[in-house]
């Protein structure tokens, strides 16, 4: 199911950091992984991803290095830094608060007295 883009834009940074948490990846790999993990709900465009990646690199949240992919082509791999891990935790907590609040407003049990 396709969802409204505005819902995902705020959390894209958090999702990108999550992808890099356990494994260094290059851009295209991240887009594929994200699609797969979210069952095609998140289809990130390259034009959205790369500015985010470069911005995170500028801020020291991730670093980059040249590597070779399995096919033998040069790839710019990204790797999360300690600073980036901290940012990820913060964003995750923020998201948790937000998601709980939405859930409460939408589907909380009604204790209306009869």
């Amino acid at each position: 199911m396709k969802v409204d883009k505005s819902l995902t834009s705020g959390s894209t940074t958090m999702l990108v950091l999550k992808l890099l948490e356990n494994q260094d990846m290059y851009g295209y790999q991240m887009i594929e992984e994200l699609e797969q993990k979210s069952n095609n709900v998140f289809t990130l465009k390259a034009g959205t991803l790369y500015p985010i990646l470069h911005s995170l690199e500028q801020r020291g949240m991730i670093t980059a290095y040249e590597g070779l992919s399995e096919e033998g082509r040069t790839r710019k791999y990204y790797k999360i830094t300690e600073k980036g891990k901290k940012l990820f935790q913060e964003k995750k907590e923020e998201w948790s608060v937000y998601a709980t609040a939405v859930k409460d407003v939408l589907g909380g049990v009604s204790y209306a007295t009869v």
Binding site: G27, A46, P51, S55, Q58, T63, Y65, E66, G67, K76
Partner: protein, 476 residues
């Protein structure tokens, strides 16, 4: 529905990438960004081909998948704005202001040499804009040249050092230019070490040979040799720890530090009489340990705030009162080499505290740049610069605080010394360049042969070649 322009509809990957780059004002970033986007489009194209699309169609769709070129370009332009480390520029500014005030104060107090002293002050004011120009010039230089042409750069610098023996002034058989040449050579040496990545023990030996030849060039300047040997050894140690040489770390470290420690300790063994007076003053014959004893005496008579008490060097021995002598008349080199000792005596230890805080802040900021580098080259070059500055600060502070005195060279950017000022401004400019170019400098890929033990038998595994470069460096 996003609006696609004509070029995108034609589906040319390179046209798309060019359009993106047109929005990015920093020209140097174009190459790295183009490569990344092109590779992405290729990957996407191949994915479409696997799904059954034709080549032309796949490329068109891959480009469409990227998003609007102008928007993407504008966003990338926003993140690729090259800028200096403003914190360091601020500290440099503060250091220069302190230096101006210090030199002016010294010129006022230079009783006997009045005219000459104010002359030195004015010559500094003239050198100031030149130093700033050097810093700005180095800032705009592409520092990655140190990684691309390390041997040429190092060789040239060493040749210049050699040539200057014909022209440079000397003091007691020691040529004064050597120390300043070493300040530059340390960072260039980092480039040489970088060029030996992946070359095993052979690379290590090459670095060692370059080091030995350099020390021979430095000749009788023991201070220059020590400065170079210690910093060079630290740089190689860092390289070994980062697995650049892929050798047994313990053996390699012994190979490096063995000779270096010998170089450091040898003078103490062979000329113990002369070198022990670096630290001790008791029993010193005239001129040996004289300066150190005097410094310690002035320091022990200094207060926290305000001028210190009269010392035995100022009080006439028999009569117990100052005989008109002043610290300016007694302490040698109070105007430059020992200006901190002088200021401590004149204004109190608070001066030392402020100086140490200023210097510490600068060093912290420098090492922050080192730690935030994405590339190995950026790391080692910025490390070389930082260590060069730290070494000078250590030498100056140890001498002025009476801890250890061998040679006296200026405190970078602060204490009087025009050549020191220009060289250090150049070094600061260089590390600012490293900071500026962090997002676009990439290490060369080199290849090694990996031998894996698979099911009891050795299996040789070759990584793929990329033109003349060979190894995969996956770890940072």
């Amino acid at each position: 529905m996003p609006q696609y322009n004509e070029e995108q509809k034609l589906g040319k990957a390179d046209v798309y990438v060019k359009k993106v780059c047109e929005q990015i004002r920093w020209g140097r970033a174009h190459k790295v960004i183009s490569e990344e986007l092109q590779n992405h489009i290729e990957d996407q194209k191949e994915a479409f081909i696997r799904k059954g699309q034709k080549k032309q169609e796949a490329e068109e769709n891959a480009v469409l998948e990227m998003g609007d070129a102008v928007t993407v370009g504008q966003q990338l332009d926003g993140t690729h704005r090259p800028k200096p480390d403003w914190g360091i520029l601020l500290l440099v500014g503060v250091c220069i202001l302190v230096s101006i005030a210090l030199r002016y104060f010294i010129s006022l107090n230079n009783g006997e040499n009045g005219g000459q002293a104010i002359g030195y002050f004015y010559s500094y004011l003239k050198v100031l804009p030149f130093g700033m120009a050097v810093m700005i010039g180095m800032y705009f230089v592409d520092y990655s040249m140190i990684g691309k042409y390390p041997k040429i750069l190092y060789g040239s610098a060493l040749a210049v050092t050699l040539l200057l023996f014909n022209f440079a002034p000397q003091l007691n058989y020691v040529y004064l230019h050597v120390f300043y040449c070493v300040l530059v050579l340390i960072t260039l040496y980092a480039g040489v070490v970088y060029s030996q990545r992946g070359k095993g023990y052979l690379g290590l030996v090459f670095c060692g040979a370059v080091g030995v030849i350099s020390c021979i060039v430095f000749g009788l300047s023991i201070s220059a040799t020590w400065l170079f040997a210690i910093n060079g050894a630290v740089i190689i140690t860092v390289a070994i720890k980062r697995e650049w040489f892929r050798v047994q770390k313990k053996h390699a470290l012994t190979l490096v530090w063995g000779p270096v420690l010998f170089v450091i300790i040898a003078p103490f063994i062979f000329c113990f009489r002369r070198f022990k007076y670096m630290f001790i003053t008791a029993g010193a014959e005239y001129a040996q340990g004289y300066e150190l004893r005097m410094i310690r005496d002035f320091l022990s008579n200094s207060k926290l705030f305000g001028q210190g008490n009269l010392t035995s060097y100022i009080i006439q021995q028999n009569l117990g009162y100052a005989d008109g002598r002043t610290i300016e008349g007694v302490l040698p080199y109070w105007q430059n080499s020992y200006c901190l000792t002088y200021m401590i005596y004149k204004f109190g230890w608070s001066v030392a505290v402020i100086t140490i805080i200023l210097v510490t802040l600068l060093m912290i900021k420098l090492f922050k740049i080192v730690n935030n580098q994405s590339s190995q080259l950026g790391y080692i070059v910025s490390l070389g610069v930082s260590m060069t500055i730290v070494s000078q600060c250590t030498i100056f502070l140890f001498a002025n605080l009476g801890i250890c005195k061998f040679v006296t060279y200026p405190l970078p950017l602060i204490s009087p010394g025009n050549i020191s000022f220009i060289v250090n401004m150049g070094l600061i400019g260089l590390i600012l360049s490293v900071y500026r170019n962090n997002s676009i400098v990439r290490d060369k890929i080199i290849q090694i042969k990996l031998v894996e033990n698979l099911n009891g038998s050795n299996v040789e595994q070759h990584s793929l070649k990329l033109g003349k470069w060979q190894l995969i460096m996956r770890k940072l």
